[in-house]
Structures are given as C-alpha cells and as structure tokens.
Amino acid sequence: MNTNTQLLRFITAGSVDDGKSTLIGRLLHDSKSIFEDQFSAISKTSEKRGMGAVDLSLLTDGLQAEREQGITIDVAYRYFATPKRKFIIGDTPGHEQYTRNMVTAASTANLVVILVDARKGVLTQTKRHSYLASLLGVPHVVLAVNKMDMVDYSQSRFDEIVAEYKAFAAQLNLHDVHCIPLSALNGDMVVDRGDNLDWYQGPALLELLETIEIDRDVNTDDFRFPVQWVCRPQTEEYHDFRGFAGRIEAGEVSVGDEVTVLPSGRTSRVKEIVTYDGNLQTAFAPQSVTLTLEDEIDISRGDMLVKTSAHPPKVEKEFEAMLCWLSESPLDKGRKYLVKHTTRTAKCLFSRIDYRVDVNTLEQHAVEKLNMNDIARVALKIQQPLVFDSYEIDRATGSFIVIDEATNNTVAAGMIA
C-alpha cells in the first residue's frame, strides 16, 4: 500500500431525494470500499422493505431512528481510500432545518459536492447550499448533475443547468467550480465513465476527487501559531526546557526566525523546533510541533506566535463577523456569551445584528433576534483582545465558536469579516 497519499475531506449537499446517499454508496461500492458484511446487512434490509435492487443509500443512513424514518438526520462520516488518496466524507442532510449540519460538515471540508436532480435543475436549495459553501470558504465545489438517466443523458439539459448555475455562482465567493453529469443509480461518471455520457470530456467524479490540487487549501503565506500547551518537563535532563506546543495553522517557520508574541508584542527568535522524531529546521502548516525560543518571555495558552513580518494579524477587542446560529434558544443580545477562538476563550457581547441573510434569495433583512439556522452579520465586543485574521484569508485564525455559559452548548459558528 502506498503510504504517500494525501487526505481529502469532502461533503455532499443536495435536497432530499437528489441522491446523496446513493452517490456515496456508489462511490464506496465501485471503489471496492464496501465490505461484505455491510453489503449483506443492507441487502437484507432492502429485501425486507420489498425493494428490487440493493439500496446503496442504506450504507450511510446510520442511526436507528433514521433507519426507522428512512432519512439522514445528522452528519455521518465515511472513510474510503484509493491508491491515490484517502477520503473522509461528511454526509449532510438536505432539510431546511438542517443548515447547521451542513455548516458543521463544511467547516472542515476541502470540497463540496452539490447535487441537483437533472429533471429539476437548479433549485432554491442548490442556491442555499452554494451560499453556505461560499460562506464557509470551502475551497472547491463540484456541481453533480444527477439522475441524467431520467433526462436521456441529454447534453443540452446538462448545459442548460450548468449555465444557470454558473450565472448564480458568479455572485458568490466560489473560486473553483466543476460541473459533472452523472447517474448515481447506474454508476455513470461516478467511478467508471459508463457508456451513456460520451459527449462529456471532463473527469468522472472520483478522478476529480483524486487529482484536484489541495496543497493550497491551507494558508501557506503567513506563519500563525496559537499556543496550545506549555511543555515544562521539570526533569533533571530538561531542567530549563520551556516549549510551546501547538499546531501551525498557517505558513511555515524556521530555526532562527524572528517571532512576535501576540497580544503582548514581545519578540524573540526560534531556538528549536522540537518533535518526538527529532528537531526540525523548518516546520509548516498543519504540523503539530513544539517551539522553544531564545529569550525567556512570558507566553501562555491563548497567545499566538507570528513571524515579525509584513502581514501581522489583527489584535482587537471588537470585530464584525458572519454568524450561523446553531441553537434552539435564540440569540439574546442582552446576554454575555463565551467565544472560543483558536486556543483562547473569552466573554463576549453581541453589540449589533446588522442584518440576517435569507439563504434562499441572499436578501438582507433587519432583525432583532436570531433563531436556529439563521445567518447574520453581527458585531461583537470581546472582554480581552483576540488575535485574528479575516476568515477569507485564514479559516483557522478567522473562525470562532460561541458557547452559552448557562448550558455549555455550542450555540453559534462565526467567521470574522
């Protein structure tokens, strides 16, 4: 087995019955990632339900409640590998009330596959899913025009849908859009090309997933290192060792580089890049390492190390953000919440709700409160300064979650403007 393969995380989005589960089942089946016992379990269930063929969608519909109701109710993760890449799939449901699930799954995805039914074309839901992909900064989008078998594999129908989609997508912040005609049910253009879509010259879905360039999905420019944990062995051998453990969220760092500690603003130089496998000369995102510095300066969890460079992050107590409200209890502007941003947690207040975005029309509306699944532009005041970039520049240092102190629930996801 080739262990030199990359990891790609993707999600599927589409309306109910567009074929998400069937498509994932098809990808797993045709790439030989379905095991015999899984296959026999779903064959039995298909038979029990009186279905003619094995329903591949049963593979991803995991929990008991779902199996009873026959719908996907939460995010489920699936894994498969080809000799070229390892894949993590987030299967997200298409119901309106489940915006939060798509937002959750999209937050870590390199790519989203947005399904449309070739008979129905671009729907309100398609636009909503594309908007969410754009909001969450998913780097790559695949428009999968499914059920091509139901429209006689018509090229003109496909072209029509693609044209409509591209016109809409141009309003969004999507940088890399690919369109593929396919039939999840019959397996055309999923793993194998099939015989029905000869007019289509582009890659089949799996081929695209295996080859799409993802190296630049993390920010490779400006070094960002939120300190997670201070390593102080206090043993004889490591008596004076003070290491700063964390994951490089963006850019790279080398021994000797001048770094600034934020928010304090003190500077030093990188003395060592320590790992279990020996010290490194250079380390890069998203490696987890431990750094030691030339000077003894006060650094603790929540601080961020950056290169003393041309693009410093912002260090501020107030900022604006796009917010997705995830909780059943609405946002209460009179209350304090907690923000967790990189490795720092602080109290916050929502000083303004500028507008809510109607995810179907992209229209902006003035509102007083936010309910579950609402997306809004807000202004926050934080009790102590945060060190951040805009989400568009860096997903890791531009994102935060909001926690309700009363319940300890995660109630919102934020993307700094």
Partner: protein, 301 residues
C-alpha cells in the same frame, strides 16, 4: 505537489496530537483509556508525540474484564512501564465483589458490564474527560459521534442531542456530573492504524500476527479455545493459523484465518479483506443491526 510532503498519516497524526493537547490544556482531570490493544497502542505513541519531552499530563486507565488475552495484558504492563507512565487498573471483579455487577454466566462476554466499572472508576478519581481509541470506521453509530462526546450522569450518550463540532475548535466545557469521552483517532481507519504501526515500528501483542491456535467453529465464527470457552459435545477442536484483528473479551473475539506474520503482510491482507473489523471479529455486535448504538446509549464506551 507542494515543496513539502504531508501524507494522510501526517495529517491524521497532527490532528490527533492537536486533540490530545486540547484535552490536556482544557480539562481538569483527564485520563487516557489504555487496553494494550492496537488502537490504544497507537494512542500512546500519539501522546508521546504530543507531550514529550514532558510526562503525559494524565494517567493511563484500564478497565479489565479479566476476560482478556494474557499476551495483551503483558503488553499493557510492559508499555506503561517502559514509558514510565502511571497505569491505573480497575477490574470488573471489584464491581462484582461490590455487587454492582451480577454475572449469571461466566462464559458470556463481559463487554456489556464494562461501563459499570468505568463509571465507578470515573467517580473514584473524578475524571472529567476520558480519551479512548474508538474509530468512526468501526461501526455505523460511531460514524455519527463527535470527537468530544458528552455523557450524562449515567454515562449515557444521546445521539440526537450532540453539540455541533466546527473546524478544529472543540468545546470542552462540561456541566456538573457530566463527563466527556474524547476520541482522538476518530478519523483513522483500520488501514491507517496498521500503516502507522508499521511506520512507527510499534510493539503490539503477538496475537495480532498469524499463529497456530486451537479453535472451534460455532455459528459461522471461529472461536479460540480457552479456559472460558471449551468445546461443547460434538464440537471439534482444530488447530488453525489465525490472527486477531481486535483483542477484546476472549469469549467473543473471533480471530480470522491468516498467515500474515508481519505488519506488511497484515497491511496487504487488510487491503484485500472484504469484511469489516467488527463484523469479522466481534460476535457481540452481530446480534442486531443497532447493537452498538444501544450499548453506547447505555454508557458503553
């Protein structure tokens, strides 16, 4: 390709280190559940990667069913000693003596009772977070579980009421009486585990490699003969070359027929195996399609 190579194993390793460090930094009194099985041996290496040159900021904890393979227990003790880390062992026998577990049939799997002793151990030490080596590829119910997964006072998991988990920003806050199970290797597959064992040259119990063993065939499963499982009248004892894919309770962990004697040979076999790890080896999961989900709701890890 970029100028740096960052493989899927590098990506998974870095993610797991990040998760463990979040636990160490944010939880008051965490523990790492360590059984001596392959997944928890990988967890130990990940903890070394995350925390060395310091000691682990948590103890290792094993809930011993006393139905374990002796080779696994020996590996457990040796690894903990070699690393110089603290190992806490609590046995189901303690709970049986206290009367909190009542065993009706000695030859039946003890997995369903593990949660009782685990909860008692959590209470004894006041652990607020227990890290475990469960993976999402093992089972359908696990596929939907969060990396930070909350348990109520009865240790129960509520799949309908999970906190959303976004980016790598984990909410580690617990209410009084609740505690967290954390799964740092959620995103690893069986293949990733074997590749990592090979790459890191990890020492794992011998029974993971092919060896000759006395087995009986019962209900489509190959079952190892032990002091707990003896042939019934009419059952024939055979000596077969087998290896274990998981090493749980001796009464319900079935080996697979194999001649793979090295990690590379296991990787080659895993790449062509057509049966899931649990489906092949855990008879307790075959009972019903939803059995794992039910056990999780009841507080099983």
């Amino acid at each position: 390709m970029s100028k740096h190579t960052f493989t899927h194993l590098d990506a998974l390793e870095s993610e797991s280190m990040h998760i463990m460090r979040e636990v160490a930094a944010e939880c008051k009194n965490p523990a790492l559940l360590f059984s001596g099985g392959k997944d928890s041996i990988v967890m130990l290496r990940l903890a070394e990667k995350a925390f060395r040159p310091a000691k682990f900021p948590f103890p290792l904890v094993h809930i011993d069913t006393e139905h374990n393979f002796p080779e696994v227990i020996a590996t457990r003790d040796k690894l903990a000693a070699d690393l110089g880390e603290r190992l806490i062992v609590r046995s189901l026998e303690d709970s049986i003596a206290r009367g909190t577990i009542v065993i009706k049939d000695e030859s039946k799997p003890r997995n369903p009772f593990q949660s009782v002793t685990l909860l008692e151990t959590i209470a004894e030490f006041g652990f607020d977070a227990c890290m475990g080596g469960a993976r999402r590829d093992e089972e359908k119910a696990r596929a939907k579980e969060r990396i930070f997964s909350f348990r109520d006072e009865f240790g129960q998991w509520d799949p309908k009421n999970q906190r959303p988990e976004l980016w790598d920003t984990y909410n580690t806050r617990v209410n009084n009486g609740e505690n967290i199970r954390v799964f740092p290797i959620s995103n690893w597959t069986e293949m990733d585990i074997w590749e990592y064992i090979g790459r890191e040259k990890l020492h794992i119990p011998e029974i993971y490699f092919a060896h000759e063993r006395e087995v009986i065939r019962r209900g489509g499963n190959v079952i190892p003969v032990s002091h707990l499982v003896q042939p019934k009248p009419g059952e024939k004892v055979e000596v077969v070359s087998v290896r274990f894919r998981t090493v749980g309770d001796m009464t319900c962990t079935a080996p697979v027929e194999s001649t793979a004697r090295t990690v590379d040979e296991i990787i080659a076999e895993t790449a062509t195996t057509r049966i899931t790890e649990r489906g092949a080896t855990r008879m307790d999961d075959q009972t019903s399609e939803a059995s794992m989900e039910l056990r999780k709701k009841e507080g099983y890890f």
